[in-house]
Amino acid sequence: MATQTPELQPVQPKLGVGFLKNNLREYGLLLSLVVIMVFFQVETNGTLFQPLNLTNLILQNSYIIVMALGMLLVIVCGHIDLSVGSVSGFVGACAAVLMVNHGVHFVVATLICLALGAVIGAAQGYWVAFYKIPSFIVTLAGMLVFKGLALAVLEGSSVGPFPEDFQLLSTGFIPDPFHGENLRIASLVAGLLMALVLLVGKVRGRAERVKHGMESEPAIVFMVKNLIFAGMIGALSYLLASYKGLPNVLIVMLLLMLVYDFVTSRTTVGRRIYALGGNEKAARLSGIKTERLTFYTFVNMGVLSALAGLIFAARLNTATPKAGLGFELDVIAACFIGGASASGGVGKVLGAVIGAFIMGVMNNGMSIMGIGIDYQQVIKGLVLLAAVCVDVYNKKK
């Protein structure tokens, strides 16, 4: 989470409540996710947190989260990518044709598809970065182009099923050498280990900042926050372990999340992307190669869209012309609910992930409650609007 909180007054450790009030945005998001989860847990009579449903929830949202990581960077850069849904559908279609129709080995096909994603991202980023054509228009064009291409590649029909090895990307779980009866012990241990590693990392980071007098977050807030966080991961892995264990795709997702969080918050590249989105002219005058950076952001988005397309195809076990339809809306909504700013320069990776989960939990919960797809959309739209309104209101204050 936040490593530097811009606080004007140095906060005394005792003022935990005051600090929370001033940083509502940071914690409000996590809090709303918890509230929404509890709400649906109660409303669905405990179905939401059942291991089976929880596993489904993760599988259903994995591809949205993967794309949200890339979209966040694009949005922080001050751009938007409307083509991600079509691109993921197109790449899924290509994967199907390669593996099913031409019998290409799944590893080779996967690599080809990821490379294809990079090329697509480069093709769009080229116009945005070097020719300064608004990304909205370039990617709107891309959306149409790749939707059409997906249809063409599949010749209008569905292609499947995929080889079993490939399906494991979405439907597989990490193996359990201990052969636990009702509990996948390896999964549980992996989950707990991860919680511990995260906790240790946070504590060490904090110690470092305290040493330099850079910390403004009160110790009590820090402890409560991270214990809740670690507890949630622990509980989650316990629940998942009591079903089939941790899904492979969850591992992929978590690794990507950690990498992107680290890159955006700790590396020079991440720093430069925020500078570019915050003030492009100032960034350029500070020696940042703004055009190249924008270009690579789109390349990155293309690769992640391709990965999402593969995950989705593997999950459905077939590539259909309709795959990826409307994904871009969920992805973009996740970023904005997660606190990204449409004008660029603002947004956090973890925010986008939480945003995606808020959308996912709502989808899932409302479906279980039997709310029709019609009103689900209405409610999701209103939640997006409300989230951004709260953001804008907070900023004005």
Partner: protein, 532 residues
């Protein structure tokens, strides 16, 4: 571009502006104005009396409460949001919004102009006040009325010209024309000449005097004391949210030092730090530098400039706006301006490559922009973040940023440059202009330059902070850096530089040593070069 033009309006100016007038009834009285934000006092006790038909200047350091006061007066802060009373034209006023105060004839022109660039002059002037019948605009009427208004402010542009094609100076006049179209009684100008060159500033000030003769009262907020001395009848000095003094310029001559003393609340012995220049060998040199216009490629902007700066020397570049000073600096610094750039740059006698910003930085050149909000800072981010932006390598290992080191660096500069903020995690958007400028300076000092190009380093900064910036510049020169200082404020160049080069229309037209330079000589060299 011509030299100093004599503006010829329909009511041309003569010198006896003191000859008027009945000053019985004040047009505006503000008494005991108090306003606080979240418990922080912005205005603690302001009294302001403006006589009808005068030009009343309001001066004060940044943060003294000038803009807050004007927001109170123009109804941005509605009645009840503040304490105190306002009397305008003998009536108690309780404005609920800007529309309210405009209705009474109080019109404010902000520093950031509020014109729509891609609409025409006529459309802008009657924006929100369209000359229309039942929603259908009467273009002929708008056109004729606009022409009349333009004549009044001394512009010859066609009413259908687009705002975006006009210079800032003319845009400022359009704003005034817009105010005149609304039957203005009290015109408030917030730093109207901040981004104008001397010619345009003079034209604007003359216009204010003309308006005054036509009974329009004017409040002028400005940092430029010499301009105030030219036109103001009364000066109200604000300090720390209270009225520090009201000075009558007609009664006796007010010296700038008097005004400054009231502004800062102390005697300012020197406006520039004393320095003993210690000038060494030639370090930085530019030869035969030529630049074409960025958009209009066929138009030369810099027409073959030779320039050198010695070790420990401060070289000033004087010139009017549009002379090509910023263009010269930016084209040298990573070709961030212009096309078809030719010429050579030398450091210690060796030719260096400055074709990208990164290469320029690597060759130890730094450029501190004239527009710190637009080109200098990422405003949403913190002081520490901005300080290291141009030299992230120095605080990172294997592209991973060491936040501890970054913090130390930023904290170090915060102390050295005396940036007023409790820590380096304050967002730069919340800092005053002077402190923002210091953050931009920190950023470039941290890139460890040998040559510093400072473009208008004290623009829009209050007197106290200016002195601090000057001290920093003097210190840099004393450390042996080469400083190239671009400024529109001639006293600043005269006070700080060892040598002043005068740029006009893309050429150096004169060069003066510190000893021989005077404001008149510089102006004369510009005018003389413009004639042929």
């Amino acid at each position: 571009m011509g030299p100093v033009q004599q503006r010829t309006g329909p009511f041309s100016c003569n010198k006896n502006r003191h000859r008027h007038s009945d000053m019985a009834e004040p047009i505006l009285q503000m008494r005991g104005i108090r306003k606080s934000f979240h418990g922080v006092k912005a205005l603690s006790n302001v009294n302001l009396t403006v006589q009808a038909g005068e030009i009343h200047a309001i001066v004060g350091e940044n943060g003294a409460g000038k803009s807050t006061l004007m927001k109170v007066l123009s109804g941005v802060y509605a009645h009840g949001d503040f304490e105190g009373e306002i009397q305008f034209l003998g009536q108690d006023c309780r404005f609920t919004g800007i529309a309210d105060s405009e209705h009474k004839g109080i019109i404010i022109i902000h520093q950031e102009l509020a014109l729509v660039p891609l609409l025409s002059i006529a459309e802008n002037i009657f924006l929100g006040n369209e000359q229309a019948h039942l929603g259908v605009i009467d273009w002929a009427k708008s056109f004729v009325k606009t022409q009349e208004l333009l004549k009044k402010v001394g512009l010859k542009e066609s009413p259908s010209a687009l705002i975006t094609n006009l210079g800032v100076g003319k845009q400022q006049l359009i704003e005034i024309a817009k105010a005149l179209s609304k039957d203005v009684k009290l015109l408030i100008l917030d730093e109207p000449t901040a981004s104008l060159n001397e010619t345009d500033s003079d034209a604007l000030l003359e216009l204010l005097l003309d308006l005054k003769r036509h009974g329009i009262t004017c409040i002028l907020i400005s940092h430029k004391l010499n301009e105030i001395a030219k036109v103001a009848d009364n000066i109200t000095v604000l300090r720390d949210g209270a009225t520090a003094a009201t000075l009558d310029c007609r009664a006796d001559k007010i010296s700038e030092d008097t005004v400054i003393r009231h502004m800062v609340g102390r005697e300012m012995a020197d406006r520039y730090p004393r320095r003993t220049p210690c000038i060494g060998d030639k370090v930085f040199e530019v030869k035969n530098w030529k630049v074409q216009h960025e958009v209009h490629r066929e138009r030369p902007v810099i027409k073959g400039v030779d320039l050198h700066v010695n070790r420990g020397e401060i070289v000033g570049i004087a010139g009017l706006m549009g002379a090509g000073r910023t263009e010269l600096a930016m084209s040298i610094f990573g070709r961030t301006y212009g096309r078809d750039i030719s010429g050579q740059v030398f450091l210690h006698g060796k030719p260096i490559d400055t074709s990208t910003v990164q290469k320029a930085i690597d060759n130890r050149i730094a450029y501190v922009t004239e527009d710190r909000k637009g080109y200098g800072l990422v405003l949403e981010e913190t002081i520490a973040w901005n300080t290291t932006l141009a030299n992230l390598e120095a605080v990172s290992r294997n592209t991973i940023i060491d936040e501890g080191r970054e913090f130390k660096v930023a904290e170090d500069y915060r102390r050295k440059l005396n940036i007023r903020s409790p820590d380096v995690f304050a967002r730069t958007v919340n800092l005053s202009g002077g402190n923002q400028q210091k953050v931009v300076l920190s950023k470039w000092l941290f890139s460890d330059p040998e040559v510093l190009i400072l473009d208008e380093p004290t623009r829009g900064i209050d007197v106290g902070a200016k002195y601090e910036i000057y001290t920093i510049i003097a210190q840099l020169a004393a450390e042996g850096k080469c400083v190239l200082m671009i400024s529109s404020e001639m006293p600043e160049l005269l006070g700080m530089c060892d040598r002043i080069c005068v740029l006009n229309e893309g050429r150096f037209v004169a060069e003066f040593s510190a000893a021989e330079a005077t404001q008149e000589k510089i102006m004369r060299s510009i005018v003389a070069s413009g004639v042929n």
